[in-house]
């Protein structure tokens, strides 16, 4: 057994190195023959200069514009078939990130089925504590009693193997009601303010998903609690075209700027939806910047706003990390022209009927075993590939039908498909994008049923 482990470790190392080399050369290096190419590591990583940092005026924190979102660490199956964090790969990713100047790591007790904090903590422990900032959250959704909340806070410190937290967030607030219920009425705010005073919480803020009114309510509390920072969802689609009832990022950022509160950005890439764009959109972006990745546009957009302290990205793969490091070393802010271009792009994307799922998995696990994100992502993939037919008479209907049905079975096991959704609605309150999940699943199920019966 032990020997096997070592063998696997060795193998992963080799494979990883290979992947790194391939990624470096294939995605970021550009032309081998380019006369301008520098020697050594710069060619391999494609990194042109130094990471851009933003300074937090209130306390002088010098934060890398690229923050590491620890919600999407690579997973492997252990001996019992359970999904566990692939710690060795996490170490390699964190090594690369720190080496290239990333110093902000954002996790939460609930991420990755509760494994993220410990995995991140284990990996960061190998570096001096003062060389990086840790952000984690109070995710007291299911049980918001004072005891359970404090227990969760202490557990975070323990999992992250640290005496203090640099950034601590009240996880996923949407309005004043939720805030009062989870943090005020139970006395948690008093507790947290004490902890802040004691220096065990260096910065206190919250992450937000909700309506403009909800945000206003939270901003009213600024006078009382002095939010040190706020985490918001910002990207070139949400800037003016936020999905559902969610507030536009433009509004959120304005409100924060007014009060001089720095923002930390989540979902700059919409869970990959702004890198896996429809082919037409990808062509459009590539035409404008043939050497840059589709994702780099989204990261430059998020970083361009001066009020932004840090842009989080949940990078599972080394190639993504390398690409983002490249984009931000240094950040080249978007010009007025480019901003207008992205605004147009966002409008084009509105025309594709994708479902705004960012694969955050907050809805999971579904008690009835449905693999919700897999079903929605598969649907989006087919929409973007133009493989969703509108009627039997469509040109290419037959091909689209087969493609959808075959790939659906591949993406989601039969017992976890949309046909199994009973519509109990337990997932809905968890979705930060306020997607009406049962309705979307039933829509997809009807589409599949029509394809099967050839009755579209």
């Amino acid at each position: 057994m032990r020997k096997n482990n070592i063998d696997r470790r060795e193998f992963l190392k080799t494979a990883g190195t290979a992947a790194m080399a391939v990624g470096g050369l294939g995605i970021v290096a550009g032309c081998k023959n380019s006369g301008a190419a520098a020697s050594g590591s710069a060619v391999q990583s494609g990194v042109a200069g130094e990471m851009t940092y933003r300074t937090k005026q209130a306390n002088g924190d010098k934060v890398s514009i690229l923050g590491y979102g620890c919600m999407r660490w690579p997973m492997i199956k252990d001996e019992n078939g359970r999904e566990v964090v692939d710690q060795e790969n996490v170490d390699r990713l964190i090594d690369y990130a720190i080496e290239h100047g990333v110093n902000y790591f954002d996790t939460a007790p609930v991420y990755l089925q509760g494994q993220s904090e410990a995995a991140t903590g284990r990996s960061l422990k190998r570096y001096p504590r003062e060389s990086y900032y840790i952000a984690t959250k109070l995710s007291n959704f299911s049980n918001s009693s004072r005891e359970n909340s404090i227990e969760m806070y202490r557990k975070s410190l323990e999992n992250l193997q640290t005496e203090y937290l640099d950034y601590y967030l009240l996880h996923a607030l949407g309005d004043g009601n939720g805030f009062r219920q989870r943090f005020v009425d139970n006395g948690m705010m008093d507790f947290l303010l004490e902890e802040r005073k004691a220096g065990r919480i260096r910065n206190l803020g919250f992450s937000f998903h909700g309506t403009p009114q909800g945000f206003d309510e939270m901003m009213e509390y600024h006078d009382k609690y002095k939010w040190d920072f706020v985490q918001i969802q910002l990207n070139y689609v949400d800037w003016r075209h936020a999905s559902g009832n969610n507030a536009d990022a433009e509004y959120l950022q304005q409100e924060l700027d007014k009060r001089n509160i720095p923002s930390v950005i989540m979902e700059p890439l919409l869970g990959g939806r702004l890198s896996k764009v429809p082919q037409y959109v990808a062509d459009r972006l590539k035409e404008r910047a043939p050497q840059s990745s589709v994702a780099s546009w989204a990261f430059r957009f998020a970083g361009t706003h001066p009020g932004v302290l840090c842009v989080l990205s949940g990078m599972t793969y080394m190639e993504h990390l390398q690409d983002n490091v490249k984009t931000y070393s240094p950040l080249v802010p978007l010009t007025e022209d480019e901003l207008a271009f992205l605004d147009e792009t966002a409008e084009i994307m509105q025309k594709y009927p994708t479902i705004p799922c960012n694969d955050c998995k907050y809805c999971m696990p579904c008690p009835y075993g449905i693999d919700i994100p897999a079903i929605l992502l598969h649907y989006n993939k087919c929409v973007n590939a133009g493989e969703v037919a509108a009627s039997v008479n469509d040109e290419g209907y037959k091909k689209a039908r087969r493609a959808y049905l075959v790939s659906y079975d591949r993406a989601v096991p039969k017992l976890r498909q949309a046909s199994r959704c009973i519509g109990c609605n337990q997932c809905m309150s968890h979705c930060p994008q306020s997607i009406n999940i049962p309705r979307e699943l039933q829509k997809i199920d009807r589409y599949v049923e029509n394809l099967k019966q050839d009755k579209l």
Binding site: V110, G114, N143, K361, P365, R402, S407, R416, R420, G423
Partner: protein, 496 residues
């Protein structure tokens, strides 16, 4: 030349029929479905007298070419016997004449006819040659084929191709699987040692055709003037029916394979019009049929793993799921087109062709003793989908008569029964309605649990008159281990 023609035709039939059992996509059945329909016993049970008449005339003209060309079990034995012959030259000439074991042949035939009339379906299915081969192909060959397919699907998935999709490989009935293994071993051992022993002692179709081929017009005939009594023809006759001493051939056992014609170096055997009929001496010798016991094993015990309780709601992960347990149905379910269970039982030869083609994993061989191996329906893995009529398209025996998609949508094969104690609306106190949402007949309605409360959760009720018994509700019901709704079969199917 004649032998080559026989081998080519036999290969075409053998591969064709085998593919019928292997192709789970159902595409080749449109082209080759007739190959199953010309099989003797299925045609007889389907009351397909045209085909039976043609086969009788064929045998009367040319001898038992049916056994050498059309019957897949016969060709399978030839292949096994041929492989043994290839191992050593000596083995090719390992046969010798043995008198016919008529008492055995005809008592098996008599028993078979009695079983057929008396409705002992499992006994009929056990010895019927096409059924026996169907079992072997669908239980032993199909999994290999499917694994091969799944390997290609695995590759296709990694190269973004939709040319292959993976399919489920599972043992549909352990009893039938065991019977298939025993059948294969017995037939293969007999073929390996003695060629066509099975066909000339056990096979009821062989016996019937043998009675006819005794009087066949064309047959291999030994020219005694040319014969130099070398005995080679007798030593390689897999039917052991050439009596060298008497220069006689037992035409009731000769399967017209033409091997002897090719073997004879003196050109002393011709396939030609017969002038005189020969009779074979009767001889009682112990038969080497070792086919008796077959294992009837218990049903598969499915393990349901209980989901672990969680201290805090964390993100991601998948809830453990388990498949539903098979309910005990008071009346079994047979597909639309069966007309009635009685009609189905009378015609079905248990060849497993419908089981092989069912794309929804609904059909599987029965494990009940009276109908052992005859297919029945159950909905744990899928349900009888409205757009599918594959079983009725392929059935060669008239057990499942052809129906169109439109006809099927109004044939009532059973009706759904609700068990509210299992329903998640009651157990988990959540809203559901998945059965009603997926009922293609609109037979299930969700009604208020508490009629006085307009906001009450809703529970399913079945309008039995509209229900066709397709099993969508049962298959998609979330209740475990037993579903809250299941389908009971009907003795006689009716159109609603």
């Amino acid at each position: 030349m004649l032998r080559k023609i026989r081998i080519i035709l036999a290969s075409v039939f053998f591969i064709g029929v085998t593919l019928l059992f292997l192709d789970f996509t159902g595409t080749i059945h449109a082209w080759l479905g007739w190959m199953a329909k010309v099989q003797f016993l299925p045609a007889l049970l389907a009351l397909n007298f045209g085909v039976v008449a043609i086969l009788v005339v064929l045998t009367l003209l040319f001898g038992r070419v049916y056994c050498s060309v059309i019957c897949p079990l016969g060709v399978m034995q030839d292949i096994i016997s041929w492989i043994h012959g290839k191992t050593k030259k000596k083995n090719r000439f390992r046969f010798s004449y043995s008198p016919a074991k008529n008492w055995l042949r005809y008592s098996v035939l008599a028993l078979f006819v009695i079983a057929l009339v008396a409705g002992l379906h499992s006994l009929v299915a056990l010895v019927a040659p096409y059924s026996a081969y169907g079992r072997i192909a669908s239980n032993l060959l199909a999994p290999l084929y499917q694994w091969g397919n799944n390997f290609f699907a695995w590759i296709a998935e990694r190269s973004e191709s939709y040319a292959f999709y993976s399919t489920q490989v599972w043992i549909k009935s352990i009893a039938t699987f065991a019977v298939a293994v025993v059948t294969f071993v017995v037939v293969a051992v007999l073929a390996w040692k003695n060629g066509r022993t099975w066909c000339n002692t056990i096979c009821p179709v062989g016996s019937v055709l043998g009675l006819i081929s005794k009087f066949s017009i064309f047959a291999p005939v030994i020219d005694t003037e040319k014969c130099r009594n070398c005995g080679l023809c007798g030593k390689q006759c897999k039917s052991a029916c050439i009596d060298m001493k008497e220069h006689q051939i037992d035409y009731s056992r000769c399967v017209a394979c033409m091997d002897c014609i090719e073997t004879c170096k003196d050109g002393a055997i011709h396939y030609t019009r017969r002038k005189c009929l020969s009779e074979c001496a009767k001889n009682d010798k112990p038969a080497d049929s070792g086919r008796r016991a077959f294992v009837v094993s218990a049903a598969i015990a499915t393990t349901a793993v209980a989901a672990k309780a969680q201290e805090m709601k964390v993100d991601g992960g998948l809830a453990e799921i388990s498949g539903a347990q098979k309910p005990e149905r008071q009346t079994r379910l047979v597909p639309a087109g069966s007309v009635s269970i009685r009609n189905f039982e009378q015609h079905c030869t248990a060849c497993q062709l419908c089981v092989s083609v069912c794309p929804n994993q609904v059909l599987r061989p029965s494990t009940s003793l009276m109908n052992l191996m005859q297919p029945e329906m159950s909905y744990e893995r899928g349900y009888c989908r409205p757009e599918c009529t594959k079983c009725s398209d392929v059935c060669p025996a008239g057990a499942i008569r052809p129906v169109t998609v439109e006809e099927k949508s109004s044939i009532q094969i059973g009706h759904a029964v609700v068990c509210l104690d299992n329903c998640v609306v009651n157990v988990d106190e959540v809203s559901c309605g998945n059965c009603a949402r997926h009922c293609p007949a609109g037979a299930i309605r969700m009604v208020r649990k508490d009629p006085d409360d307009p906001k009450s959760l809703r529970i399913p009720v079945v309008n039995e008159e509209r229900c066709i018994g397709c099993g969508a509700c049962e298959n998609l019901c979330p209740a475990r281990p037993f579903t809250a709704i299941h389908v009971e079969g009907h003795e006689v199917h009716k159109t609603i």
